[in-house]
Amino acid sequence: MSPVTIVLIVVFGLVVLWLIGAYNRLVRLRNQYKNAWAQIDVQLKRRWDLIPNLVETVKGYTKHEAETLQKVTEARNIAQRAAGQGVAKQAEAESMLSGALSRLMVVVEAYPELKANQNYLALQEELTSTENKIGFSRQFYNDTVMRFNTKIQMFPTNIVAGVFNFKQAEFFELKDEAAREAPKVQF
């Protein structure tokens, strides 16, 4: 075999190796963001499960807040139904649920016996933690999506991505209620 042939074979072999490596990298990144999405689902589901318990506990102590509680339950049911309908719809439904919950928290401020109840405090801690976990899993998901999308767009991996049909992933943005309210000016 002539030296040229050998060199060509070696180069070809290296290219194939690189292709395999690039494909595997993309698969790994894609699985990462899919796993991260599943993690968000776990936390969202945990929140749905906590809400009926919370509503019952609050109902026992408050007489005039039936409307707020009703809104929370409705928002939760809507969010549950939105589960299969795509990232954007789900994000919107979950934002509304977060809003309803924080309005409930504001209302609860007026009931000191409720705030001292052990059961309520434990639930409160679970709920806060779940809200935090939703936030963190969402941010982790967005980070993995960022890594995946960057890798797909960068040369030379974008060739492999095109050939094997890796699609860009969507970010999951929850609108923060607090961010939308106007800042208060105090003199």
Binding site: M105, V106, N132, K133
Partner: protein, 409 residues
């Protein structure tokens, strides 16, 4: 951050190999110096010791350290807030398996993490940390520790710590042995053999003296960058650098531990427990960067991403610390509001409740028996309490002491 992870793995591997080479060399030299011709045996003994050492430090190192620090393992029910905080940070850090959580019975705030990889990791915090820090601050500390675990710092520091400890031990043993027996063996040989032996002995002694020093220096120089990187990752995970900054401030006011100062293990803590306010850390012989610098960098961050930390670090020290690959894929991330803000009014237990919760937990872990009396008092009996009945000091009711029962909190 794969560069940092790969680097730690590589360095651990290199350290173990270098350690192996050093031990084999030292073993051969020492054996030759004492019994000429026995260098092979010395080499073999050294290899066996090295294998045992590497395996023990790799698989058992964290258990040893946790036990020596007096750490007690807790479950979710024991302290749901701490468990939730660790769980939140695991999600933020992308660690799929929860590390084991431990509490140390010490009133001074501090924390550390051990573990060879995220699947076999442990996080320990002191009771003082739980009592004095609010939720954001504990979250920052836990995030910093999980960053160490994820970046495999804990693997490298564990390997290095055990190596340092063992080299020091070997050097000590050898020096003592050589001192005691060198004279006797030398007198048995002829004149010619004497000089060669003396030279070998001197080289062996040099190894024994310089080895520990070199490894210590290596150990110190490499720890500081890791602390900065862990701070950066911690700020990124929590999206709230101020939490970690104020936690560091509270901890550095009084980080020491009441147990014997353990020099080898001190780098593992979030703030070096051997450093007092008077003796500023940050010199050549220090394993942690100066806490003031760490706080200042965290507080001057414009956002919460790694790029923001890098910018703040460069402003403060004109150097770079975050690896390039991590900067490339870092997106702009804003700082979130603190957990306890007036608008959302999430309740935090006050200091007394927290102290009571931690104290109860520690009693329970030490197998105290809890009895709830109908008058509202909770009786807490030490394990050495042998009587079968106890009277409530407040109302006089008599209770049966459950025999061998687990504590009912």
């Amino acid at each position: 951050m794969w560069e940092a992870i790969a680097r730690n793995r590589r360095k651990s591997f290199v350290l173990i190999s270098v350690m192996g080479a050093f031990m084999i060399g030292a073993g051969m030299l020492i054996a030759e110096a004492i019994w000429p011709g026995a260098y092979m045996a010395g080499g073999v003994v050294a290899i066996v010791l090295w294998a045992i050492l590497s395996l023990t430090s790799f698989y058992g190192g964290d258990t040893v350290f946790l036990a020596s620090a007096g750490a007690r393992k807790i479950q979710k029910n024991d302290h749901p807030t701490l468990y939730n905080i660790v769980e939140e940070m695991c999600i933020a850090a992308g660690i799929s398996k929860m590390p084991k959580i431990y509490i140390i019975d010490d009133n001074r705030p501090n924390a550390f993490a051990v573990g060879r990889d995220p699947e076999h990791a442990s996080v320990a915090v002191t009771a003082g940390l739980l009592n004095r820090l609010n939720r954001d601050e504990v979250q920052g500390v836990v995030a910093h520790e999980l960053a160490h675990i994820r970046n495999r710092d804990t693997l490298y520091v564990m390997v290095a710590a055990i190596m340092v400890g063992v080299i020091a031990l070997m050097a000590d043993v050898f020096l003592r042995y050589a001192w005691l027996t060198g004279g006797r063996h030398r007198s048995r040989r002829g004149k010619g053999g004497n000089q060669a032996q003396a030279v070998l002995l001197i080289i062996a002694i040099l190894f024994a003296i310089l080895g520990p020093i070199a490894v210590q220096l290596l150990y110190f120089a490499l720890s500081r960058r890791r602390e900065y990187l862990a701070d950066a990752c911690g700020a990124l995970f929590t999206r709230y650098p101020e939490g970690l900054a104020s936690a560091l401030q509270k901890i550095s006011a009084n980080p020491g531990l009441k147990e014997k100062k353990n020099r080898v293990m001190s780098p593992m803590y979030i703030v070096n427990p051997l450093q007092t306010a008077a003796f500023a850390a940050g010199g050549l012989g220090s394993t942690h960067p100066p806490t003031k610098d760490r706080i200042r960098i965290l507080r001057s961050m414009a956002g919460a991403s790694l790029a923001d930390y890098e910018a703040a670090f460069a402003r403060s020290t004109n150097q770079s610390v975050v690896p390039k690959s991590a900067l490339e894929t870092s997106r702009a991330v804003g700082i979130r509001p603190p957990w306890r803000d007036e608008k959302h009014k999430k309740p935090e237990p006050d200091a007394r409740q927290k102290a009571r919760q931690t104290a109860d937990l520690l009693w329970k872990l030490n197998k105290y028996v809890f009895i709830a009396c109908a008058c509202g008092t909770r009786l807490k009996l030490p394990p050495s309490f042998k009587l079968s009945k106890v009277t409530c000091p407040r109302c006089g009711r008599v209770h049966d002491v459950p025999r061998g029962a687990q504590a009912k909190a």
